[in-house]
């Protein structure tokens, strides 16, 4: 057993759990945050994607006790009914989901991905840093390929992300 302090969606939460508890299971089973979903438990589908210190990771493939003091953002922290983030609203508008099970992971992943783009990941090869990373559908597709969608809502996911990206630039 281990005590861990996590900052989740801006709130300090204390966890006392088995060291084997993944961050995903801590969120779902101990902290009442069932928005993040378990699709595979092996880092192969992205349904469990959350942001840790602003970076998207698969929460099933990391142990909760390792994140003492880390800032964690889950889908619950990005928006709520009545106060959707622009990306969440775009997903609803463009029908970027069907069964909705992969959706929280898609939302967290896309939110972080848009920040990565803003930070120009990766920038140009050969040393030139003046070029900006442009957000083409091809780039979105590649960067979001870590989020599987069995319903295959993919085309609408791209449309939703594009709209949110354009709105924020």
């Amino acid at each position: 057993m281990k005590d861990t302090t996590l900052r989740i969606n801006g709130e300090e939460r204390k966890l006392s759990a088995d060291t084997r508890t993944t961050l995903l299971d801590a969120l779902r089973n101990h902290l009442g945050l069932t928005g993040s979903k378990k699709g595979c438990d092996h880092g192969q589908c992205g349904a469990c994607t959350v942001m840790v210190n602003g970076r998207r990771i698969n929460s099933c493939l990391t142990l909760a006790c390792m994140h003492d003091g880390d800032e964690i953002t889950t889908v619950e922290g990005l928006g709520e009914p009545g106060n959707l983030s622009p990306l969440q609203a775009a997903f609803v508008k463009h029908d970027g989901f069907q069964c909705g099970y992969c959706t929280p992971g898609q939302i967290c992943s896309a939110t972080a991905m848009l920040e990565e783009i803003k930070d120009n990941w990766p920038s140009n090869v050969s040393g030139s840093l003046t070029g900006e990373a442009k957000l083409t559908p091809e780039e979105i597709s590649e960067r979001m390929s870590g989020n599987l969608c069995r319903c295959a809502a993919y085309p609408n996911i791209v449309d939703a992300i594009r709209e949110a990206a354009e709105a924020s630039s």
Binding site: A17, D18, R20, T21, D25, R28, N29, G32, T34, G35, S36, K37, K38, G39, C40, D41, H42, Q44, C45, A47, T74, V75, E76, G79, E80, P81, L84, Q88, A89, F91, V92, K93, D95, F97, Q98, C99, G100, Y101, C102, T103, P104, I107, I140, S141, E142, M144, S145, G146, N147, L148, C149, R150, C151, A152, A153, Y154, P155, N156, I157, V158
Partner: protein, 757 residues
């Protein structure tokens, strides 16, 4: 209890909600993570359950050492065949055609790798998982039989639920003799696993002999009595909640062993139990698409018209239950031919039992048929589209029935035009793009049945003007929450935002199964009828109320719209629902309904949705990696209730077609029978980067016979035709036809090397 009334004759007109591309009613819940799936439920005092699976595929467990598991901190109990009580119904007895034979720790037999052999119950998930790992089993095992060469051949009595395995019509032998040319294709399709993103799960809590079950389920009306039977309680003692399914695709329509074990554990332990399957456990106990070996042959006359169509399929099932994919029935209603002979044979593999997986039979069969059509077109020296048009079926070739509606020509045209199917070189290997990539164009015809199930619904209109409609329907992503809501509101003649709506709960009237692409038509029809019934009763009250503007209008058509009842011929004459009820002093009106398909129509017409899919692929000329770069489909499926959601279903189906053609394959070790790629790294489904420029066009079609509302389904239509279109495009690019799906780089390499030789 009175019969559920049929739809009232004078209100069969969909209103202002149907046809609108409304965004999903459950959209906000889904994007905020507030939609509750089964495993999101977390009752107090719950026990986590994890099952240990057999590591052999055929034989029996000779010993089960659970000492280490029981000793693991947090583990509370281990269920084994020694300590698990019998169910009230033999789990091997098929009480309904939809009952699967399941494994629930009743004996020491092992029938497939991964079958539950013990269930560990613990205070934490981590303890339960480790407890399962610590169970040590020894076995008496027989050699597993995986694959058509090693499996046990047999003659099945039926395919699908109850379709005869053989069918023929016309003078097959005579017509074949007359033919001057023939085209034949032999292909194998692999085991495929549904792999909905949400793994199967159950949260069960007993209260005396009542049980509340949170479980994703596509057929609540069947599941409720099914659970009741297993546990020896009356159906009304079962409360089944399934408001959201994280995907189903056919895999959540039937009751399975692991979930029944969860319910059983909750009863034995007298505590709520949550049992969630791991991804790796989704490759055995919860069905899959049968593997097939198929031969399709078309015989033609000198004018390139079909004279005979033959389709044989060797189909896999398990050693202990019969469910065979009806692949050889896929072409019965597709292309014109005076004679047909189709037949299925069976092979038992030591895997779990197959079941319906998105477009069962038709996806599997059309994947091969559409290739055979192109081989025939090549022999005829004709463009594949021209050839299909030449052999277009005006009547269902299997029975001569006219189609209830078939806007397929419009689909061919719309899709071909949008794709730019023009001047396509007939020969393969003629097209390259500016980067030197081999380019190919192919097409396929889409078709899917339009069945109709007996669904029931209830609607209530209250004096204050509020209303409610409900049925135990299921939304597994296809959009039932929204589409059914639209139809319910139209039945009531109210705006969708003004009515309460509920599905996904066993207390509600039986909305039948979300499957067969029939849910919108069936449950939607029932909801519409229920609303209609309310309107009919309201009209009776108003037309007999001398203070109503509608007094005496009993013989005229009255309609409801926006909460107001009025004369169809004179809309100014009418009044609001609330006025009618308030004046009459009636608190509420309850309406009941079920949708209707005219019996005579069923006998007279062949009922299908149709479509056409055109694919462009790019293939690396040396390395043979394939990308689908463009997919255009046009589909005709009667009245479309929500075009936005219908398109999502169609594009989703088309992407499933990409997966079927290029990626999906369940691989089992031939010796042990264990699945080798039971995870998402090994079992490939398309990722976002695999998805081409995609278009799904909706072609107008009115179908006056398929049911009262003219609604057909689109959930499965998109796969059919797409798989063959991609295979045909790959041939067009490379000149290679592979002998199996998925189309693999190594097979294209071998094929290309053979071409050079």
């Amino acid at each position: 209890m009175a019969d559920t009334p049929m739809v009232a004759a004078h209100h069969v007109r969909l209103g202002s909600n149907s046809g609108q591309p409304m965004t999903r009613r459950d959209g906000i819940a889904k994007v905020t993570g507030t939609a509750t799936y089964a495993a999101d439920n977390h009752p107090q005092n719950l026990l986590h359950a994890v099952f240990a699976g057999a590591s052999i595929a055929r034989g029996r467990v000779t010993s089960l050492d659970i000492k280490a598991a029981l000793a693991h901190p947090g583990v509370v109990h281990v269920m084994t065949p020694d300590n698990t009580p019998a169910l009230s119904q033999d789990p091997d007895q098929k009480t309904t055609p939809f009952t699967a034979r399941i494994d629930v720790l009743q004996n020491d037999k092992v029938r497939y790798a991964g079958q539950p052999i013990a269930v560990i119950l613990a205070e934490t998930l981590e303890a339960a998982v480790e407890g399962a790992r610590l169970v040590k089993a020894t076995y008496d095992s027989d050699q597993a039989r995986i694959g058509f060469d090693d499996g046990e051949a047999f003659a099945p009595e039926a395919v699908g639920i109850s379709t005869p395995p053989k069918f023929s019509t016309g003078d097959f032998e005579g017509n074949r003799k007359k033919a001057t040319q023939s085209a034949s294709v032999e292909m194998e399709t692999p085991l495929q696993y549904h792999n909905a993103m949400e793994t199967h799960a159950v949260v069960a809590e007993w209260d005396g002999d009542h049980v509340t079950v949170d479980m994703p389920n596509q057929a609540i009306g069947l599941a409720k009595p099914g659970i009741a039977n297993y546990f020896g309680i009356p159906p009304e003692n079962v409360t089944l909640r399934s408001p959201y399914l994280g995907g189903g695709f056919g895999s959540k329509a039937v009751l399975f062993g692991p979930q029944m074990l969860g319910i059983l554990a909750a009863r034995e332990m007298k505590r709520p139990v949550k049992l969630v399957l791991k991804r790796g456990q989704m490759f055995g106990p919860v069905q899959h698409r049968s593997a097939t070996r198929q031969t399709v042959r078309y015989d033609m006359d000198a004018d390139n018209r079909f004279l005979a169509f033959e389709h044989t399929a060797n189909v896999s099932t398990s050693s202990f239950d019969n469910w065979l994919d009806g692949a050889a029935n896929a072409g019965l209603s597709l292309y014109a031919t005076p004679s047909i002979s189709v037949s299925h044979s069976g092979t038992r593999f030591d895997t779990g039992t197959p079941g319906a997986m998105r477009a069962p039979g038709i996806a599997t069969g059309s994947a091969v048929i559409e290739c055979a059509i192109d081989v025939a077109a090549e022999k005829a020296g004709m463009d594949p589209l021209e050839f299909r048009l030449l052999n277009y079926a005006e009547k269902d070739p299997s029975n001569g029935k006219p189609y209830s509606a078939k806007a397929l020509r419009g689909c061919y045209k719309a899709a071909a035009d949008s794709f730019g199917w023009k001047d396509r070189p007939l020969k393969p290997r003629q097209m390259r793009d500016e980067n030197g990539l081999l380019t190919g164009w192919g097409m396929g015809t889409s078709i899917f049945h339009a069945p109709f199930f007996p669904a029931k619904a209830r609607a209530v209109l209250r004096k204050d003007g509020s209303a409610r409609a409900e049925t135990s329907g299921a939304d597994m992503g296809q959009g039932a929450w929204t589409v059914l809501w639209q139809m319910a509101a139209d039945g009531l003649g109210m705006a969708a935002d003004d009515i309460e709506f509920d599905i996904g709960h066993s207390d509600l009237p039986d909305g039948s199964v979300a499957g067969g692409s029939a849910h919108t038509a069936s449950a939607g029809g029932a909801l519409f009828a229920a609303g209609n019934d309310v309107i009919r009763q309201l009209a009776e009250i108003a037309t007999q109320d001398k203070d109503s503007p509608l007094f005496g209008a009993g013989n005229e058509r009255v309609l409801g719209e926006n909460g107001r009842l009025f004369k169809a011929e004179d809309p100014n004459v009418g009044e609001s629902y609330t006025d009618i009820l308030q004046r009459a002093g009636i608190e509420e009106i309850e309406g009941k309904g079920r949708g209707n398909r005219d019996k005579a129509s069923t006998e007279t017409y062949a009922m299908f949705s149709h479509g056409a899919v055109f694919a462009e692929v790019k293939v690396d000329p040396d390395l043979f990696q394939v990308r689908v770069t463009r997919l255009v489909g046009a589909f005709a499926a009667g009245r479309i209730i929500n075009p936005r959601l219908a398109q999502s279903q169609l594009t989703g189906g088309m992407i499933w077609g990409v997966g079927f053609a290029l990626h999906e394959e369940g691989i089992h070790d031939k010796r042990s029978g264990r699945p080798l790629n039971n995870d998402f790294a090994g079992y490939h489904i398309p990722v976002l980067a695999d998805v081409p420029h995609l278009e799904a066009l909706l072609v107008d079609e009115e179908d006056p016979h398929v049911n009262d509302l003219g609604v057909k389904g689109v959930g499965e239509l998109g796969i059919t035709g797409t798989v063959g279109a991609i295979a045909n495009a790959v041939w067009h690019a490379t000149g290679v036809r592979t002998a199996r799906y998925p189309i693999k780089i190594e097979d294209l390499l071998k094929g290309a090397q053979a071409l050079k030789a």
